[in-house]
Every structure is written in structure tokens, then in C-alpha cells.
Amino acid sequence: MDKPKLIVDGKRMDGRAMDELRPILIKAGVLNKADGSAYIEWGKNKVLAAVYGPRECIPKHDENPYKALVRCTYRMSPFCSLEEHGRRGPSRRGTEISKLISNVFDTVVMAEHFPKTAIDIFVEVLQADGGTRVAGLTAAAVALADAGIPMKDVVCGVAAGKIDGEIAVDFGKYEDNFGESDIPVAVSPRTGELLLLQMDGMLTKDEVMRSVDMAISASMKVHELQVAALKERYAEKEKSGALGGEGDNGGGSLPSDAGGGRQGMALQPVPGDAGESAR
């Protein structure tokens, strides 16, 4: 296949500017059984994250007498891509991403509060369109907060890099596939610390740093959406007074995408105006 032109007349394939994020929607508390959960739609990505814990650590020999074991499992559904049916079962890529996301949360979760336990995070990519690992960890952070797990920050992630010679942020699938370099980043917004950082391709130092800076800047907007999603969850309860029991919270769950429009949700693409996680 001929490499498509990723940038035409200064605009990207979907019309975005270089530093513009795709529309993002985040909802907290979407599942019943999980201790905490969150759902994110990021462009066409659809990712569900759930947390169980702190709970008994199984297997017992993994337990740490001083702190909780924070572990994440990231998987993609076999129907997540526009192309072929994917594999059923774990993949090496999934294993690596699981480890990286585990490392992110091991840093921010105040694990010493729960010795000998495990905090299990599950990230399920239901539909993929580039940038699933950062979407996944962004949702996972919200799920952890939703579960009441003490953390030092609500972490989020954004990827940046180089496409068609330009530094840009947040790549869709084509940009990912045909771009020159992809740099996924996870940031602790409070401190600016980078908790996940990967890079591929061939870049000068200046290009790397410009990408990282662009990612950090964009991540602030993503963080606003995470906070809004968490606050919205409790504001609902406040307003209606009786928003059903625990069980009812999961009932609404994943927004549907039927017919191309999002039912009852208004999404505005970034920049400036961070895409609100609207109702």
C-alpha cells in the first residue's frame, strides 16, 4: 500500500492541527462488580478499565509484606480493529504494555497503606484506533480513583512524535502506522514527572524534547477531563439525592455509538476547550 500523505496543507488526515487532541469522553463508575471502573472514548478508541482491590494477593507467594502489589493486565479484544479478527489470548505486546502500566501506578498508588494485598487493574481495549496504551492508562487512573485507592495524583497519558516531518500529538492508527516516530508518555500532572516514556524511530534530541513537551502540555487537558469525570459521578448523586444504590451506578455504563452520533453527548475537540465528558 502506498504510504498515505499524513499532512496536507498543514492539516492532518482528520483536519486536526499538530497540537490538537481527538475528542475524548471519560465516564467513571460504569461497572457494578468492579471496585472501581472507568470508560474512555478517545477518537475511535473505546477502552474499559476496572480495578479490584486492595484484595487478598493471589498467588500468595507474590505478596509483599510492606505494600500492595499493583498489577495491570492490558488486553485487546479480537474485534477491536478495522481489519482482521485478532488473536484470542495474550500477546507479547499486551504483556509489555501491562508491565509498563503496572509500573506507572506502582509509583503513584500509596501502596504502603495496604501491605500484603494486591490491587488489580484491568484494561480492555474494545475498539482500537491508535494510542490505546495511553487511553488505557488514562482510564485506569480514573478507575483507581473511583475505587477509592489512595494515590498521589490522577495520572494520564498522551502520545506524540513525528509524522511527515512534523512534530505532532495524539496519533490515530494511520499516523501511528505510517509516522516516523511514536512517543507515548504518561505524566503525573501535579509534578510534571514522566512515569511512562517510550520512543521508536530516529529523531534528533530536539525533536524528542519537542514531542515530549507537546505531550506534557496536551496531557493537562486530558487530566481536566479525568477530574471532570470523577466530579461528575458524585455531583450526580448529590443533585438527584437518591441516585439508586451502588448497583444502579453500573446500569447506565458504556455510551453507545449507534449511528455515528453519540447519544446525548456533545463532544468538542481540543484545543483550548477540552472535550468535555458530557452527559
Binding site: S37, Y52, E84, P90, L126, Q127, G250, S256
Partner: protein, 257 residues
């Protein structure tokens, strides 16, 4: 490991049922409210999400080219898999499909296959070449009766599944595509036996207390699959009356498709 808490709750539920009540307050033959949404995963050829009470299941359909099975050389290939995702319940573990998820997938598959809900003959292309119809059942939230929820999601996904084209030997999934050819619509209805009482659409608490389970999958006028699950048993008369109930309740679920 036997969870003591589960045992304690089981006794509570059994007593409740013996006294004529269900934990949820439902009538014995009452299904929980259900909703169905189609095309929730546009990347897939077909998809649907079902809520059955608090149980949530997502079904995804993908088609690809493959070689027909040796014993069915003129048909497409239906392949159904169920994943009890770890996020759906605290006890779900990672690893290859366990017996529970295999039974779930096979029961849903059987109903579809028997009723020809997917027209496998229409998926045949030429000798040695046919469409693979991959059906994946993703359990997102487990509050009992995964079979009915999964079967409903599967049927709904089948009904909106787009049929890709084959152009110059390549699979084309974009552009205007017709729907995959489907036949009858089948609907699964599951009943649980707790003591001597039979309840329709057991929720998780009831599932833990139940002795036996009977799933009857029906088209509007035929039975196309039956599965007696778990231990315990049903009398011949119970089976007969449950078939009647299956047709009745099946109508209600079918109306959601």
C-alpha cells in the same frame, strides 16, 4: 476454594425462595429488564451490547477468509468464543478459557448453528474458500445468567453484521456493504432450580444457590437447543412446562432485537 460467605448467602437465598420470594423481589417467571444496543463497536463487522439486569455482555463479529472444515466443505465457518473478562467479577481469572466459558460459548453457538441464525451456506465462496464468521462474547459485568445475555448480544450482533466483499483476493470492509445473510432469530432462556422451585433468569445470588439449570433456546416456533447445566435434575414434566415458558419469554426478548 469454597467461599464461606457464599455458603452463608446461599442458605439465605434458599430460605427466601422456599418462602416464596426472590432476593430481587421478582416473580418466579420474571426476567430482569433488558436492553440491547447494536453497532457499539463500529470497527467490528457487527456488534451489540446487552444489559440483563446488572449483567452486561458485549458481542463482536468479525469476518475473514479461511478454508472450510473438511466435514462441511461447502459452508462458511462459525467460530464462537466467550471471555469471562477479569473485570467482570472478582473471581474471574486470566488464562485459557475454562470449562465455564467453554460451555457458555458452545451453548450460544449451538442455538445459532441449529437455527441457522447465520446462513453458513451463504458464506461459501468457492472450493477451498469461505468466510470465517468469528463471534466473540465479552462478559463485562457478571450478575448472573450470562448465557441469555450473551445469546441475546450474539443474535443482535448477527442481525447488524455487515458482509465484507472480496475484491481481487482482498477483503474489503469499507464502502456500502449488505448485511450478512441470517436465518431465524434464536433466543436463549435459562431457568434455575433452587430446591423444588424453578426461577427464570437467575441473578448471581440465585445462581450460587441453584442446584440445576436448564437453558432452552427457541426460534418463534421451534426449540433449537437445550442444555441442562450444573448438577441436579429436572423432571420430565418440568421440562415440558419450561419449554412453554421458553417460547413465551423468548417472545419478550426477541422483541428487543
Amino acid at each position: 476454594m469454597v467461599e464461606i460467605l457464599d455458603e452463608v448467602r446461599k442458605e439465605f437465598v434458599k430460605d427466601l425462595i422456599a418462602n416464596g420470594k426472590r432476593p430481587s423481589g421478582r416473580a418466579f417467571d420474571e426476567f430482569r429488564p433488558a436492553t440491547v444496543e447494536q453497532n457499539v463497536i463500529p470497527n467490528a463487522e457487527g456488534s451489540a451490547r446487552v444489559h440483563l439486569g446488572k449483567t452486561q455482555v458485549l458481542a463482536g463479529v468479525k469476518l475473514g477468509i479461511g478454508e472450510p472444515f473438511a466435514d462441511k466443505p461447502d459452508e462458511g465457518m462459525l467460530s464462537t468464543n466467550a471471555e469471562l473478562l477479569q473485570l467482570a467479577h472478582p473471581t474471574f481469572e486470566s488464562g485459557p478459557p475454562d470449562a465455564r466459558s467453554v460451555e457458555l460459548a458452545r451453548v450460544v453457538d449451538r442455538g445459532i448453528r441449529s437455527s441457522s441464525a447465520v446462513d453458513l451456506k451463504a458464506l461459501f465462496i468457492e472450493e477451498g474458500k469461505a468466510w470465517n464468521f468469528f463471534l466473540d462474547l465479552y462478559i463485562l459485568d457478571h450478575d448472573g445468567n450470562l448465557i441469555d445475555a450473551a445469546a441475546l448480544a450474539a443474535m443482535s450482533a448477527i442481525l447488524c453484521a455487515k458482509q465484507p466483499r472480496l475484491e481481487d483476493g482482498k477483503v474489503v470492509r469499507e464502502g456500502s456493504l449488505g448485511l450478512v445473510k441470517s436465518g431465524a432469530t434464536c433466543v436463549a432462556t435459562t431457568f434455575g432450580k433452587i430446591g423444588s422451585t424453578i426461577v427464570a433468569d437467575p441473578d448471581l445470588d440465585e445462581e450460587k444457590a441453584m442446584d440445576a439449570r436448564l437453558t432452552i433456546t427457541t426460534t418463534p416456533d421451534r426449540v433449537c437447543s437445550i442444555q441442562k447445566g450444573c448438577a441436579g435434575g429436572f423432571t420430565r414434566d418440568e421440562v415440558a412446562s419450561l419449554i412453554d415458558l421458553a417460547f413465551e419469554k423468548g417472545k419478550g426478548l426477541r422483541a428487543l432485537l
